[in-house]
């Protein structure tokens, strides 16, 4: 009995060792996720979680993790929107507003509500529109100070600290996807600007508290596929909030991704393809809508 007790006893040294290991484990799990630098990859791809029959968000999450394990130039982010599924709930538009703390007059994602036909043969279509992250982006060519550029992974991003606010990109974009931040607040002319408006946005992996006289006020703004989320292993806000699972996101260079699979299986089209901008946002059912 005494022997058993001795065997079960842990030495003080072992106890301290175990404590240190446990402490480190707790500390590392509670640490904020670090932002990946350009071209950096996580190295260790998390194990796939999705099984046939599971939620497609899990599959897209697996796709995202797999894509993030590759160097940036070897992935090409794309979005697919199935118009047959869209119910016009505007959840994506609101999620985008909230995620990017966008002020009045700035809406990266809009939903077109298009009614066609004559009573009683009416048809109503919803078409979510956003920056198309074009392969040949006219906005990048138009910007006089290189404040906007196409990244190797296809995302057309903005450097808020370079932008001079000339709005050339707004007029160059054939999709109306860019807006200018004129410094408005929803709670302007009220006793106090509310915290939900002044809290920082995390666009482009930086903190942007909305303060008068500071960027992004005065700048052009646009959808960035939630770079700050995807590079931290999260899907864009519009994808995760879509109640009808209309919006798919992933790496089009990865043939096993859900986006690639659906684009290959379905008849897809892109907005204003004749312009030669080569958008990275694809649609299912677009040809049935009279835009």
């Amino acid at each position: 009995m005494e022997e058993e007790r001795v065997q079960n006893k842990i030495s003080r040294k072992d106890f301290l060792k175990m404590g240190a290991v446990a402490g480190l484990a707790i500390a590392s799990s509670s640490m904020p996720k670090t932002v990946l630098a350009a071209g950096e990859d996580k190295g260790d791809t998390p194990k796939p979680r999705w099984k046939e029959g599971d939620d497609i968000l899990l599959r897209m999450q697996d796709d995202l993790n797999r894509a993030l394990s590759k160097p940036r130039e070897k992935r090409s982010w794309s979005m697919l929107i199935d118009l047959h599924k869209c119910v016009g709930c505007y959840a994506c538009a609101i999620a985008c507003k909230s995620e990017n703390v966008s002020p009045p007059g700035v809406a990266y994602r809009k939903v077109l509500d298009i009614e066609t036909g004559k009573y009683p043969n009416l048809k109503r279509d919803y078409v979510p529109v956003l920056c198309n992250h074009c392969e040949n982006p006219p906005c990048v060519t138009a910007c006089p100070v290189k404040a906007t550029k196409a990244r190797p992974d296809g995302i057309v991003d903005m450097d808020y600290m370079k932008c001079i606010g000339c709005r050339a990109c707004l007029n160059a974009c054939p999709y109306g996807a860019r807006q200018s931040d004129f410094g408005k607040f929803y709670t302007d002319k009220t006793p106090k600007l509310q915290d939900y408006e002044t809290r920082p946005a995390f666009e482009y992996n930086k903190e942007w508290p909305r303060q008068k006289g500071k960027s992004p006020i005065g700048n052009a703004r646009k959808c960035h596929f939630c770079i700050h989320r995807i590079e931290n292993g999260e899907l864009p806000a519009c994808v995760t909030t879509c109640i009808a699972k209309t919006t798919y996101f992933g790496d089009i260079k990865d043939k096993d991704s859900l986006v690639s699979e659906l684009i290959a299986k379905n008849k897809v089209s892109r907005l204003k393809e004749a312009l030669g901008t080569k958008p990275r946002v694809y649609y299912i059912g677009l040809e049935e809508v009279r835009l």
């Binding site: 538009a93 009045p104 007059g105 700035v106 809406a107 809009k110 939903v111 077109l112 509500d113 298009i114 078409v127 529109v129 006219p138 990048v140 060519t141 138009a142 910007c143 006089p144 100070v145 290189k146 370079k162 932008c163 001079i164 606010g165 000339c166 709005r167 050339a168 707004l170 007029n171 160059a172 974009c173 054939p174 999709y175 109306g176 860019r178 807006q179 200018s180 931040d181 004129f182 410094g183 408005k184 006289g213 500071k214 960027s215 006020i217 005065g218 700048n219 052009a220 907005l271 204003k272 312009l275 030669g276 901008t277 009279r290 835009l291």
Partner: protein, 322 residues
């Protein structure tokens, strides 16, 4: 540095991103480059009137350029970052090219105004003509090059060119009516009217072609502008000095309207059906009317251009007398 911007006091928005101030800027640059081009061509063709008005014309070109550049600076969302156009320009951007062209153009004008008191050397004139043409061409391409807007047409640069020349000759007529003595004035106005008549006629034809092109897609040239152009043509044809000055005044103001209408009408067109209603918020609407502040600034810019013209003209005359 903290943001410096006048845009919160203006009414342009994300749809109509370029409003009255950009129209004023385009108008000023058109007057500047158009006047420079006319003076150059006049010198090459030995046109007595255009040769005589060369020095005041140079002062006009420089004054209009300065006022135009000021109006575009006022329009920026971050005026304090203007220097970035020189430090980190994007070679694929037409706007970046414009800034560089304007800088060189500014130096050419200043050098000509100060150093060439009597005759400007012919090679320099030739170079200047090509340069002035490039300034107008690049300016028009800023609008015409990106796809998607109604400006994206082969007619737009041509119309831009003709409106610039009409606004320039109209400004030169007004100057001739003001600065020359009674004995010289009539001959000058008669000569300038001869130059103006074909320019206005061509502008009317190009305007009609443009209207035909954009039928149903928003009028880049309105009927009002065309009718005013026809009135200008009729007044010029009368060969009366006072009517010629009146034609100059109407022509100059009309070209500002023309630039304004062509700028705004292309921007109020939605990229897709239902786009304007997709998100209704301030500064997202597909409509535009300038604020009182925008009007006041525009008037101030015109006044500044007039003061600058007189200043530069007097300076250039003083240099000549020395």
């Amino acid at each position: 540095m903290s943001q410096i911007s006048f845009s919160p006091f203006a009414n342009f928005n994300s749809a109509v991103a370029w409003g009255l101030w950009v129209s004023i800027y385009v108008w000023f640059v058109g007057i500047s480059a158009g006047a420079f081009l006319l003076i150059g061509i006049g010198r090459l063709r030995n046109d007595p009137c255009l040769k005589k008005i060369a020095r005041p014309g140079l002062a006009l070109s420089l004054a209009a350029l300065m006022a135009g550049l000021l109006s575009i600076q006022i329009d920026l969302g971050h005026i304090e970052r203007f220097y970035k156009l020189f430090l980190s320009p994007n070679p694929s951007s037409i706007m970046a090219w414009m800034v560089w062209l304007y800088s060189i153009y500014f130096v050419i004008l200043a050098v000509m105004l100060v150093f060439f008191r009597k005759e400007i050397p012919r090679p320099l004139i030739l170079f200047s003509v090509v340069f002035a043409f490039a300034v107008i061409a690049v300016e028009s391409l800023l609008f015409a090059l990106p796809p998607g807007k109604a400006w994206h047409s082969p007619v737009f640069p041509l119309h831009f060119f003709t409106t610039s020349l009409v606004s320039a000759i109209a400004a030169l007529i007004l100057i001739a009516g003001k600065i020359y003595s009674a004995s010289e004035r009539n001959d000058m106005l008669k000569g300038l009217a001869k130059v103006a008549i074909p320019l206005v006629a061509i502008n009317i034809i190009v305007g009609i072609i443009e209207m035909a092109f954009f039928k149903g897609a928003g009028h880049l040239t309105s009927w009002g502008v065309l009718l005013a152009d026809i009135l200008v043509l009729a007044l010029l044809a009368k060969s009366s000095p006072s009517l010629t000055v009146l034609a100059g005044l109407i022509g100059l103001v009309n070209m500002l309207f023309s630039k304004y209408i062509s700028l705004i009408s292309a921007q109020v067109q939605e990229p897709f059906k239902g786009f304007a209603e997709a998100y209704i918020e301030p500064r997202l609407g597909y409509s535009y009317s300038p604020t009182v502040f925008e009007y006041l600034v525009s008037v101030a810019l015109v006044m500044l251009a007039i003061v600058l013209f007189y200043f530069l003209h007097n300076v250039s005359m003083a240099i000549k007398e020395d």
